[in-house]
Each structure stands twice: as structure tokens, then as C-alpha cells.
Amino acid sequence: MGSYWSLPLIVLAVILQSSVIPQIRIFGGEPDLLFLMLLSWSINGRIEQNVTWAFVGGITQDLLSAAPAGTSVVGLVLIVFGIDQLKQQVYRIGFMLVLGLVIAGTVLQKVVVMLIAGFSGFTVAPIQNFTYVILPTIAYNLVFIGPVYWLVRRIQPRNQRAM
């Protein structure tokens, strides 16, 4: 990734996700820090970097989960490629588009994780999952995308200069 900041940031996001973030859960929803950081990075980063971050972050996240390692990676990789395709279609990804990406990405990530968890033997109830997990998570992610995007934008140019 050529970034001095990326790995510690990923690890910090994952650790906060498993320790601090559960304290502010509403129903089963909580801000998904890794997803938000990856989304923010992908908007301006190169696809190779973004995919690497999706793999490293996703697997790190799964190490602190009951789901099999790699579960989070699938959704994150799809989001990275989706944003890459979008960047080729539009001149600039503006704020409203970022909010749209947060909503679509949250749904995609949670549905993919839910499907893989279902195949791994966990009980999956799509409607309840949507109400208790996905909707509150979308609300949280919409609130948190602002500060996370701001933070990533401050770090990202430094990384690219460091390369």
C-alpha cells in the first residue's frame, strides 16, 4: 500500500470497533469504522491500494468475530470495485453521492456478511436483520462519514507524497 499510516489506522479502527463502538449500539446497529475508512479512501485512492486495504482490514476485522476469516472481505472488495467503476462514470464524487455510497455500501456489506454467516451455520432472519442491524447502521454511518472522510482526506495526500 505504500502507506505508513494505513495499517495502524486499520488496526485501530478494528480494535475500536470491537471495544468502544459496542458501547453506543442502537439495537444491533453501530458505525462501521472500517467500511467508512475504506469508502473514504477508495474515493480518491488507487484500486490496488483499496483492494489491499479491503483484504487486510476485512481479515483483521474477522479475527475478532465469530464469522470465518474473509467474510468481511467479499463485501468490501465489491464496494471498492463499485466505487472504481463509479469514478469512471462521473466527473467528481460529491457529498450527496458519498451519502448514497454510504447507504448502498452499508446494505451491500451487511447483506453479504449475513449470507456468508448463514452459510456458516448462524441463524439469519433477513427482515429482522434489516430492522435491527442494517437501518441503525446506515443512520450511524451517515453521521460518522463526515468526520471519517475528513480524517482520511487529511492523511491520504501525505501517504501519496510519501510513496
Binding site: L63, A66, A67, G70
Partner: protein, 288 residues
């Protein structure tokens, strides 16, 4: 240099192939993880993560606890009033229970009988992480195989049943909480021994279903493990009945159960180490 750039451009231009390769690699990792091939690597990588996560978890709980303490003064005053009323009721019950207890002790001595609950051997463990995936209700503790923890061991607190061990590494273990939707526990009502099955719900509460229609279930009834199925020892407290309704097919009754354990702020748990779960899968095989 030029060749490298050309290769890079070609590779990047064929994004569909790149995506498929990435998904295949991710699928391979998932398959390897599910079959346990990656278990040693996962345990190795998770060890430092668990350690740091444990420090942050304790820190977050401490901050949360202090914030709640300051903001809940009014709530606490109301609660004190309720508790004083409850205390008066319980004091009268206590006298009665002491009488029953003394009878019980005498009978126990006579029969040289001790319950499995009093014979529990436990190990205290710190909760160091909560599941990343908020749809899965599991926690991680800082005890593993080195401390004698094994898969399927029940996990409790003084407030009642917490869950059971579903995965163990050398120095950590993952616990599936009783309110996880995949969790199902054979249970009974303490008052009238009515059997049922306690499951987790998506709202994070517990539900006891399969209760016969003709059985008496009242709010406040204590729900305990029955020991049927061999997965949990009997007589562990699961929670209290808060309401009763008919099941959707109207063939059984369903009781909403409130656990006294606050699963969001667990700091310490006890792992019951001397319980051996019974493997009933041998009876699943069809007889010739």
C-alpha cells in the same frame, strides 16, 4: 520500467478479471477458515489484537460506567425507592426461605446429596472483545486451552447463564451468548417444572417457546436450564418471564424472558470447567 507500467495498465484495465480473482481469493480464505486450516494462523494473529482490544474494552466500559453514573442520578433515586419497597417484601420472603433452606440442608445431609450447581468448578475470565459483526452476539474472553477451557463449556455470571464456548485458542475463547439467534437452550420454569426452549431474538432478548398450552406461566417465573440435551448443566438461571403470549401457530405458548445479565457491559464471566457436554449425535444415525 515501461514494461512494468504497461503490465500495470493492462492489469488495471481488465478490472472484471481482477475482481473475480479477488473474490476467488476471499472465497478461498473463507473456505480455509471454515474447515479450520487457518486456525493456527488466525490464533497467532488474533492474540495481540485480543490483548489490545481487551485494554480498550476495559477503558470504554470504565468511561461508559462513569458517564452513566453522573447522568442517572434521578433514575437512581427512583430505583432506590423501588428497591426499598422490594426489600421489605423480600425480607418477609427471606424468613420463609431460611426455613426452607434449613429443611433442605437437613435433607441433603441425610441423603448425602449435592446439586451440580454447588459442585461447579469455575474459572474467572475477563471479557476482552465484543463481536465485530453486530448481527452475531459473541464475546471474547482472555482464557483459553492453557487455562483448561474447552469447546461447549457453559459460561455464567452470578446473575445467570451467559452462553457457551464455541471456539478456543491458547489464551482466548469465543463465547456464543444466550441471546444470539442461533442459540437454543432446553429450559424449564422453576415454579412448575414446565419445559420449553429458550432462544435469542434479534432484539437481543430471550424467548421461551414450545410451552404447552395448558401450563401455567406467570410473569416473574424464573427460567432455568433443564439439562435436557446434555449441552448445559441443569438449574442454571437464564432469566425471568416478563410476558406470555400464544405462538404464531397457536399450538404453544411463548414467554418473553428477561435475562438479569447485562450482555452489553459484561466485564467478568465464569467458565464452568467441570461440565462435560453429552454428545447425542450418535442417536441421530438411522438404525439399520
Amino acid at each position: 520500467m515501461n514494461r512494468g507500467s504497461g503490465f500495470s495498465r493492462g492489469w488495471r484495465s481488465n478490472r472484471m478479471a481482477f475482481l473475480i480473482v479477488c473474490l476467488l481469493i476471499a472465497g478461498g480464505v473463507i473456505a480455509a477458515s471454515r474447515t479450520g486450516l487457518l486456525a493456527p494462523v488466525e490464533d497467532l494473529l488474533a492474540t495481540p489484537l485480543n490483548a489490545v482490544s481487551g485494554v480498550f474494552h476495559r477503558l470504554a466500559l470504565t468511561v461508559n460506567d462513569n458517564l452513566t453514573r453522573f447522568s442517572d442520578v434521578q433514575t437512581l433515586q427512583n430505583r432506590i425507592g423501588e428497591l426499598e419497597t422490594a426489600l421489605a417484601l423480600y425480607q418477609s420472603e427471606l424468613v420463609e426461605l431460611r426455613e426452607i433452606n434449613s429443611d433442605y440442608q437437613r435433607l441433603t445431609d441425610l441423603l448425602n446429596y449435592t446439586t451440580t450447581v454447588t459442585n461447579q468448578e469455575t474459572i474467572t475470565a475477563n471479557v476482552i472483545a465484543v463481536d465485530q459483526n453486530s448481527a452475531l452476539r459473541t464475546i471474547t474472553i482472555d482464557r483459553g486451552t492453557r487455562d483448561g477451557i474447552a469447546i461447549s463449556m457453559p459460561v455464567v455470571t452470578k446473575q445467570g447463564l451467559v452462553g457457551r464456548v464455541i471456539r478456543v485458542s491458547a489464551n482466548a475463547a469465543r463465547i456464543m451468548l444466550v441471546n444470539e439467534t442461533s442459540s437454543s437452550i432446553s429450559a424449564r420454569l422453576q415454579s412448575n417444572r414446565v419445559e420449553g426452549s429458550v432462544r435469542g431474538t434479534f432484539s437481543g432478548n430471550l424467548e421461551m417457546d414450545m410451552i404447552p398450552l395448558d401450563s401455567q406461566v406467570r410473569e416473574g417465573d424464573l427460567v432455568i436450564t433443564s439439562g435436557l440435551g446434555g449441552n448445559f448443566p441443569p438449574d442454571l438461571v437464564i432469566g425471568q418471564v416478563t410476558s406470555v403470549s400464544l405462538s404464531s401457530d397457536a399450538l404453544n405458548r411463548v414467554a418473553q424472558v428477561h435475562s438479569l445479565v447485562d450482555f452489553d457491559t459484561l466485564e467478568f464471566v465464569l467458565v464452568v470447567t467441570n461440565f462435560q457436554p453429552v454428545d447425542l449425535s450418535v442417536f441421530d444415525a438411522t438404525t439399520p
